[in-house]
Symmetry: C2
Subunit: 525 residues, 2 copies
């Protein structure tokens, strides 16, 4: 039946032949043939989101858990623009995504119809690869090239612009993207150099193994733990990480702190940093009189592997080179007795973290966008049941709820816990509706401090005067208070409010016991 | 105290000196000095929005009603990206906006911190003018240039990128943007040519005066009405218009229909089109076998004036040239007796329009994003109390609620009525919270058909097969139903639901009688 196939159908079949089986979509007129092709072809799952930030974030979450790209289906330049902030987050996280952006028919562009704008221009800053299909006969080749581009290295953002006539015109082929090339291994000489450096005598903790990307998966961390057992080096993760294996029985590892002073203090006295999938640590922002680079000036930097390398191999080889291959890993987290805090009244950050640690289900996926309240959640949850912990890497607000969607779709048998600041939640709140529609197993906890609280600290760090009325007003979310129970119910998600740790604990237990999404608004101000 | 002034303060004072007194803001760390300067300077009104699409749309609405630019304050590339879709809408509407986008300190950019991305690259497709301030000493000059750029012609999008060190560094000047040059008048020879064309004998209705931009303000329409009285030409507005003066006592004018077949039919038999602030009419989208250009092939096009011209002058001169200067305008709308429909049960589009016409307050501002349901609202409201009617021009969904904010802030003594489709509402719903916070006099009517209904028509027009399960699923908003009463209350806006015209009429009367925002969810499926 090849003669009846149009460009859209050749694209859908190409995506499937290339291992892309999930589409996060918000279609418009120019994407109608793609929808029709989905019906004809049948096996590509299509998930609707009511705003495009939901979709690009969902594709990010999907990649983080599945290690392969989903596609998005977006409507022309403005629809694509709405998804850019979460593409920024995905790009920084090293996630692979194939964006399919509908465009006017090629011959219609000259007329500057209302929705016409420069899609490719918008795409470039947030994409590694951008192409516009020239005709329906090229769409399959272009689609396969997009998938290949998205699978390069740790993961890339590929944006394919699909003119309507390339979608509805006749097509004659289906292309399967070739299997991605194996990720490169670190050369043996570099392993040997790093091993020599790690073997040189320095005091305990003066050498840091700074891990990022896939060096934070379970097996890679075990090798890192053996290296630490042998050499006494410290293990640290970058400040923001796409995904980290954590919990009882796994090698426990801290993160570089967010605020510049704490980060500088964390690396004070460090003589040597070995980078494994991590970048040179930099301050989140510049501040008057504070450094951009976090490490001490005289610290030796050894860039062993970047995020595109096979990082488990690199750590394994390094461990063997050091003669640590058979050692028991250091820093293995013991399982904590699941105890609740003694005082279950006021929800302090430590108390919240203890409740989370007690309730976290086995193999939970934690999506952390708790921003200011959540900074301290990390250490108390280190001995919880084994879980994955996902952070925002690009740090644009609104990543958490969408990423939770993608994670839940990628791993339907696991519980997803999304910890979201109230300010963050307001960027992509319609994500709740998609959770309800797809009956995703997501527990959303809104940490409602009714402020952009992180910015109050930032205002002080900027060294300005005491904040005045306008500044405080711009950092407050309390006039009026947002009612997240009503907001969740409005999106079709059951919700309850907790003002004490006790109520929070009960709500959390209840939510984890039930299938489908639910939301807890935890008042923390 | 000039020696103590920093770049941010010089910018705030420059904006005020240049007539920009309103800022729609969602600040982050890099904008903290701007906030501090607002407190120090005092008289620039700053309005917080919880998502950036709210802010750029609000600035669009403000310009449409005030005819001068407001500024936005946005946080780095991702925050700016979130505002791009409504900048697209503003750009197509001819609105002037000054975007101030915070950027990392110049020396920090090289380190590729998490929020680093190419702001200028993102800005170009949706801006007429883009500049990055090189230092704190340049900020005032750059700010004044941005205001001048935004005030060019009918209105332009100007984007000023403000590095943090340009914000906190020392500054030494305040610059007032010069008064904008007078908008150009159409040359007398062109007026004479158009008058000759309009005087040539053709049948009634075979000549169309196609109006756009400021040709749709009250006085300009009066001149158009005189021209129609003299020549028998038809008056038509473009399909999408930033602002149109309507209601009893004003010259009544239709719009080109949205769907391509109706638009072609509306211009069938037309021999001559005089463009006054309007562009050559084009189809919204291309469809297989349908034309891109709407006018008949042999139709003569006379481009008298573009949107940047003084359009009231052009129409006045044309009327005088035709000897129509003293005539009574044709097509003046008579005031309808404010009657309600006989059947007040089922909310049909005609019934809804009649209820709107009966209740519309004097000088109301109607922000129309009713999409499919609202297509028929125009004729029945022509004889309502005098009002302004605002459409989406760029047609990216999510324009309406934000534009209503800007209109209400620009014209605090007037009632704003926002007619919003349920699909559209979900793009920038946090606009409701800003309405509550600023106690804006906005009545929001959500026309809940629980579908992207417009797309069902588009699917058919694309000529594909009968829509299948996936396609229908992607165009439906009913699994689960959104509850806009809960959503509004969650944002702090009182709300009620109407399922009959009677309930709608009561709710509308109630809402117009009370100050502050309220929302009515009208179920129309």
């Amino acid at each position: 039946m090849k003669s009846q196939m149009n460009g859209a159908e050749s694209l859908v079949r190409t995506l499937l032949a290339s291992g892309v089986d999930t589409c996060f979509a918000n279609p418009g007129t120019s994407e109608m043939h793609f929808l029709a092709a989905l019906d004809k072809v049948g096996s590509l799952r299509c998930v609707l989101g009511l705003a495009e930030g939901v979709l690009t974030g969902a594709a990010d979450g999907y990649f983080r858990m599945r290690d392969r790209p989903a596609c998005t289906l977006l409507h022309l330049a403005p629809g694509f623009a709405n998804g850019l902030a979460n593409l920024h987050n995905a790009k920084k996280a090293g996630s692979g995504i194939v964006n399919i952006v509908g465009e006017h028919a090629t011959y219609h562009l000259q007329h500057d119809a209302p929705l016409t704008a420069d899609i490719a221009g918008l795409a470039r800053p947030m994409s590694h690869w951008v192409r516009t299909s020239a005709s329906s006969h090229e769409v399959a080749t272009d689609g396969a090239a997009a998938v290949s581009a998205a699978r390069e290295g740790a993961g890339r953002i590929a944006t394919l612009i699909l003119p309507a006539d390339a979608s509805w015109g006749e097509a004659d082929r289906i292309v399967g993207a070739p299997e991605p090339a194996a990720r490169p291994d670190v050369p043996a000489a570099a392993i040997a150099d790093a091993a020599r450096a790690l073997s040189e005598p320095v005091e305990q903790g003066e050498t840091v193994l700074l891990l990022g990307g896939e060096a934070l998966r379970e097996r890679a961390l075990e090798w890192a733990g053996r290296i630490a057992a042998k050499t006494g080096c410290r293990l640290l993760a970058e400040g923001q990480n796409a995904r980290m294996a954590r919990g009882a029985g796994r090698v426990k590892i801290g993160r570089l702190p967010f605020d510049v002073d704490s980060a500088v203090a964390a690396l004070a006295g460090v003589r040597r940093i070995v980078l494994v999938g991590a970048k040179l640590p930099v301050a989140f922002f510049a501040y008057p009189g504070k450094p951009s680079l976090i490490a001490p000036h005289d610290c030796e930097i050894i860039p062993l592997a970047d995020a595109d390398h096979r990082l488990d191999h690199a750590l394994e080889a390094l461990a063997h080179e050091l003669g640590a291959g058979q050692l028991a890993p250091a820093h293995v987290a013991e399982r904590r007795a699941p105890g609740l805090p003694g005082d279950m009244s006021r929800p302090t950050p430590d108390g919240i973290a203890a409740v989370l640690a007690a309730h976290l289900p086995e193999q939970a996926i934690v999506v952390d966008e708790a921003v200011s309240v959540g900074r301290g959640f990390f250490p108390p949850t280190a001995g919880a049941a084994p879980h994955d912990w996902l952070n925002s890497v690009g740090s644009s607000l609104g990543y958490g709820l969408p990423v939770a969607i993608g994670a839940a779709i990628a791993e339907p048998q696991r519980k997803v816990l999304a910890l979201i600041g109230d300010g963050s939640a307001m960027y992509n709140l319609p994500a709740l509706w998609t959770m309800a529609r797809e009956r995703l197993d997501v527990t959303v906890v809104i940490l409602a401090n009714r402020a952009y609280n992180v910015l109050r600290g930032e205002l002080a760090r900027m060294g300005g005067p005491e904040p005045g009325r306008v500044a405080l007003d711009m950092l407050s979310l309390d006039r009026p208070d947002l009612d997240f129970v009503a907001l969740a119910q409005g999106h079709g998600v059951p919700a309850r409010r907790a003002q004490t740790l006790d109520a929070f604990s009960n709500a959390l237990a209840h939510s984890f016991a039930e299938p489908g999404p639910s939301l807890i608004e935890l008042i923390v101000n």
